[in-house]
Amino acid sequence: MRYKFFKWIFPIIVLITWALILYWWTLGFKALTVFSYSLKAAGALPRAVPNISLVNHLGKNIDISTLKGKYIIVNFIYLNCPSVCHFVSSKIAEVYKNIEKSNKNMLEKLVFITVSFDLERDNPDLLYHYWLHHGALKEWQIAAFMPNEAPFIRPKLEKIGVYIFRKPNGQYNHTIYMFLIDTKGEIVNVFDPSGDAEDIAIDIFKVIK
């Protein structure tokens, strides 16, 4: 009887060991990709946004911290992206237009900022053309990090929860999430742009009362 029980101990140990390894590796079965892992590892919401100095598509310097008092939707791209970033930008334009159509007054409290992390190639001129291409929407700024931010880009992106990986051919794979920052300068929500634009707009409305 004791022997019969003993032979089951080994498979139980194997099962528990694998379950624990998988639980640890995926932060409680919630982070399967490096992107979701970076997001979870950055910490629970709400969390503070590091100060980021940017130059926008009009060549104007903007600091995320000076925009306190407004809600900010920020996401990160690079203009030489072959596909995904343009899909995200199109989704942002959809969300913007959805908000404009449902509640135009909301746009007075809200600003969209799309930030390029590709300091080598993306300049204000290219950002301006990108902004024009995506509808030249008034409360949507396309920006890039200031040159003096170069050594701090990765650590700041990590704090936000953004993962970027530069491939040998110069292309990047990176987090595409959209981050909603409240009036106190804290990230309060994260959206996956692969979701429906209307649903994302509704979720934004829920936060911006």
């Binding site: 032979k7 089951w8 101990i9 080994f10 498979p11 194997v14 099962l15 060991t17 694998w18 390894i21 998988l22 590796w25 995926t26 982070a31 399967l32 990709t33 490096v34 992107f35 892992y37 072959p82 596909s83 995904v84 899909f87 993962y163 990986f165 491939k167 292309q171 794979n173 990176h174 595409i176 692969s194």
Partner: protein, 176 residues
């Protein structure tokens, strides 16, 4: 014994730098060629021994095999295997040993369990293929969207082939 040594030698060749690098850089090669090959080589190196003393109904081997597959199919695991050589070697060893232990377990697994397990695996790999084909962004940081879609196609193809083989196996077993 010869089979064991041949399997080990082929596994070492498969994970040696020029071939390993060649297989790692493209997602379809990594997922559809290298990983199954290591599992197969491990299986071929395995020994058909009675392990029922600590492996009742082949459960220990099956759980170890399943845990291995699940772990290395996680996109973050694949990314780290490509980025870090040490993790890549752990993956190779893990795959080989999973195949190795499966060999001594497979004869102990009851027919119904094998059948249900195979159906589940086919369903999972089909779902994964559909996800890779349709998801609009990267699941792995180190591979491109095009490679992801190719891998999705490949997974769907492999699922279809395995399903057909499964049907033949069921018919053959039932005829006995």
């Amino acid at each position: 014994m010869i089979r064991f040594f041949l399997a080990v030698i082929f596994a070492i060749i498969l994970v040696s730098p020029p071939i390993d690098n060649y297989l790692d850089v493209v997602m379809a090669r990594h997922v559809l060629i290298q990983i199954p090959s290591l599992l197969l080589l491990g299986y071929l190196a395995g020994i058909k021994k009675d392990t029922s003393g600590f492996n009742p109904y082949g459960l220990s081997g099956l759980i170890f095999f399943t845990g291995t597959i699940i772990f290395w199919m996680i996109p973050r695991s694949l990314d780290n295997a490509v980025l870090f050589n040490s993790i890549d070697q752990i993956m190779h060893l893990n795959m080989f040993t999973a195949g190795f232990f499966l060999r001594s377990s497979i004869s102990l697994i009851p027919f119904m369990v094998k059948g249900v397990y195979l159906i589940q695996s086919i369903a999972m790999s089909t779902a994964l293929g559909v996800l890779y084909l349709n998801y609009p962004s990267w699941v792995c940081a180190v591979y491109t969207i095009e490679q992801q879609k190719e891998t999705g196609c490949g997974l769907l193809f492999v699922s279809a082939v395995v399903f057909l083989l499964f049907v033949f196996w069921i018919i053959k077993t039932l005829k006995k």
